[in-house]
């Protein structure tokens, strides 16, 4: 490698970034005291950081290009180490057992605070898995996903306020209403091209939030709805602690249920159609797949899961207001899907873990969390578009199959 040239390149890039960030990073004006704070040390930091970062950047780009070439040349699809591990039952079975045991005993060994965080993470897991159907499988960029989450949450809250309905009755209703919304909103917009769809769904998401904020008679406006009851268990009275554990287990059950459903959908006629749609819309239609129907089914199913998540969210926090359903929530869920791995169930769970739990435990960095997620979005797209854990297509077993194996 031509080190001198690389050095010079990195040096110039560092200079460029120092120039770029100069006004905003260095100068801080205190308008009240009429003083200027010159933060020169930051300039040095930017310089040093971008010097090394640009080096790594170029190295990674090069590696990616080489990887692509290698993939093109080789005949057999090369499974990465991580994919091999995840597909190997010798590893996955014990891992699953450990995870199950951990999930079962977790609330009894950790504090209420921890249980609460874990429940939140689990809610995001099902939101992520739901959005994964829409974005990861069907390739529809939905930036208004949170709207359906809001529909679920408000369904429970309002039905409870007005009719005194309980959690278990509202869970299917909330999911159903969200699905209905998904169909009603999806029908007109799903004809649109991908990028327009993103903006329109974003628009819908904001419309729903703004309506919730402004239509006081209906939604109680910005002040929201408080005292939403936690889920009941055959009318038995529970302490807060007990009901938090109860919600935790409800969420665990829902996550298992979701994984079960998503896995089956993925490997079905409909799931294949979603993926085909993501791959090539025109070819898909020419192959006899009804584009609108297929998209709508993905959209509606995604919405259903958001609705379920919403109901649980309302029950868990016992208080909701429109501020919980901003566009950033949608983007957060999108981050989970994209970072974890579009189309991959394990990836999404992993993504939810990183995005929800990490900031909780690394409080020191919590200030920088959005900044880092944002950077991660870009880096992921550039270097690892399939996410941390990439989806593996299933192979089928059949009579005369060339690699027929005992397990399926």
């Amino acid at each position: 490698m031509n080190t001198i040239k690389e050095l010079k390149k990195s040096f110039l890039i560092a200079l460029w970034f120092m120039f770029l960030t100069f006004p905003i990073m260095v100068i801080k004006v205190n308008t009240v005291e009429q003083t200027i704070d010159w933060r020169w040390n930051r300039l040095a930091m930017v310089g040093i950081f971008s010097f090394f970062a640009s080096w790594i950047w170029r190295y990674l780009l090069q590696r990616k290009e080489m990887g692509q070439k290698r993939a093109e040349e080789s005949e057999t699809p090369t499974l990465t180490f991580q994919q091999r591990v995840l597909q190997n039952p010798k590893f996955t079975r014990p891992a699953l057992v450990v995870i199950c045991i951990f999930a079962a005993i977790f609330p009894f060994y950790f504090s209420m605070y921890q249980v609460n965080i874990m429940t939140t993470a689990l809610i995001y897991v099902i939101l992520g898995l739901g959005l994964n159907i829409v974005v990861g499988l069907a390739g529809l960029l939905d930036l208004g996903y949170v709207a359906f989450y809001a529909v679920g949450a408000y369904s429970y809250a309002l039905l409870n306020v007005h009719f005194g309905m309980g959690f278990w009755a509202c869970l299917p209703i909330g999911a159903g209403l969200a699905m209905l919304f998904g169909i009603v909103l999806g029908f007109p917009v799903l004809r649109l091209r991908g990028d327009y769809l993103a903006i329109v769904t974003l628009g819908f998401g904001e419309i729903i939030r703004l309506i919730l904020e402004n239509w006081n008679e209906f939604s109680f406006g910005p002040s929201g709805i408080a005292n939403i009851p936690r889920p009941g268990f055959f009318g038995i009275k529970m302490s807060i602690h007990q009901s938090l554990i109860y919600i935790y287990f409800i969420m665990v059950a829902m996550v298992i249920f979701t994984i079960f459903v998503v896995r089956r959908l993925q490997d079905s006629r409909i799931g294949r159609a979603w993926i085909a749609l993501r791959e090539d819309e025109v070819a898909c239609q020419a192959t006899g797949i009804d584009k609108t129907k297929t998209k709508l089914s993905a959209f509606a199913l995604g919405a259903t899961w958001a609705g379920m998540g919403g109901v649980v969210f309302a029950a868990k926090t016992t208080f909701i207001n429109p501020a919980s359903f901003t566009i950033w929530e949608s983007i957060m869920i999108l981050c989970i899907v994209v970072l974890g791995g579009m189309g991959s169930i394990v990836g999404v769970i992993f993504g939810a873990g990183i995005l929800i739990l990490l900031p909780e435990y690394l409080r020191a960095f919590s200030e920088y969390r959005m900044l880092m997620f944002a950077a991660a979005l870009v880096l992921m797209m550039v270097f690892r578009p399939h996410g941390i854990i990439s989806a593996v297509r299933r192979t089928y077993q059949f009579e005369g199959s060339p690699e027929k194996k005992a397990s399926s």
């Binding site: 990073m25 308008t31 009429q34 780009l61 649109l192 903006i199 025109v282 920088y368 979005l377 550039v382």
Partner: protein, 300 residues
């Protein structure tokens, strides 16, 4: 009648401001078919840079007009630099990737720039001084139109004219049009596509920076979040006019500005933003090619 005039001029101001941002959207979309989500943030950065320069120079006791000129220039320079860098870092490596990838990357850039400004500066609203002097000849119309607004109209019109000339008559403009029509073909006939794309980002960002300074002067305060809603609305305007078309972007912006202004003035101000979004949804559903855009059949 006075109220009508007030709303009309208010709408014109809004529209002109949207136009300055929408032009960048439309140019970038025309060239690389990317909805540059981060465009609103470029505009916000322009406003912040200007504010920082203004504050420093004011403390040094400079002349107001000189400050204004330098601040505007600084906003343009840095916004362009950010736009240029964002393209190089986050979009260029993704050419040829699936359509979703650059879009998600753009969302990342948008989020990054917001949080970057939030952390490096502040989350508070900062007052933005209005340095545009009061014009003498406007005195009889006091209460109806402010000098800032006149400047906004004039600048928007001038920008539109300059950009049109640039694209119609210069060599670079020709290269831009060629790239917009068919990138591979342009590359074959020797257009430096990378340079054209960079240039488009720079021009779009510079325009947004102008918008940033003017809007901040008009409204009187800024924070790290102003780019988001403004960006979305400008995007609505660009789509309304027919994305890819520059006169369309301005027309769309004016239409959006006026409808918003009259809607909030005569009907209700609670649902102002709902209205803009509803507008967007309706256009995209019923006339996705916009007012001035042509309905194209995608080539298969």
């Amino acid at each position: 009648m006075d109220y009508f005039l007030e709303l009309f001029l208010g709408g014109l101001t809004r529209g002109s401001i949207y136009a300055l941002i929408a032009l960048g959207y439309t140019m970038v979309y025309g060239i690389i078919e990317l909805i540059n989500f981060a465009h609103g943030e470029i505009y916000m950065i322009g406003a912040f840079t200007a504010l920082i320069v203004i504050s420093v120079l004011t403390m040094l006791g400079w002349n107001q007009l000189a400050i204004l000129a330098i601040a505007t220039l600084a906003a343009i320079v840095w916004s362009s630099a950010y736009g240029f860098t964002a393209e190089k870092v986050a979009y260029k490596p993704l050419r040829g990737a699936p359509r979703l990838s650059p879009l998600i990357s753009a969302i990342g850039v948008s989020l990054f720039l917001q949080n970057y400004v939030l952390l490096a500066q502040t989350s508070d609203f900062l007052p933005f001084p209005n340095l545009i002097p009061d014009f003498k000849f406007l005195e009889p119309y006091e209460g109806i139109v402010r000098s800032t607004e006149i400047v906004i109209y004039v600048v928007t019109a001038a920008v539109l004219v300059i950009l049109t000339v640039l694209i119609k008559f210069t060599k670079l403009g020709k290269a831009m049009r060629a790239t917009a029509q068919d990138r591979d073909m342009a590359m074959l006939v020797g257009v430096n596509v990378d340079r054209v794309i960079s240039f488009t980002f720079i021009v779009g960002s510079a325009t947004a920076a102008l918008g940033g300074v003017l809007i901040a002067s008009h409204i009187g305060q800024i924070n790290f979040y102003i780019g988001f809603i403004a960006g979305i609305k400008a995007f609505v305007a660009a789509v309304l006019g027919g994305i890819g078309s520059m006169p369309g972007a301005v027309l769309g912006s004016l239409v959006l500005g006026w409808t918003e202004s009259f809607f909030t003035g005569y009907i209700s101000s609670d649902y102002e933003d709902v209205f803009a979004f509803l507008f967007l949804v309706l256009i995209l559903i019923f006339r996705p090619s916009g007012i001035l855009g042509r309905a194209n059949t995608d080539k298969v």
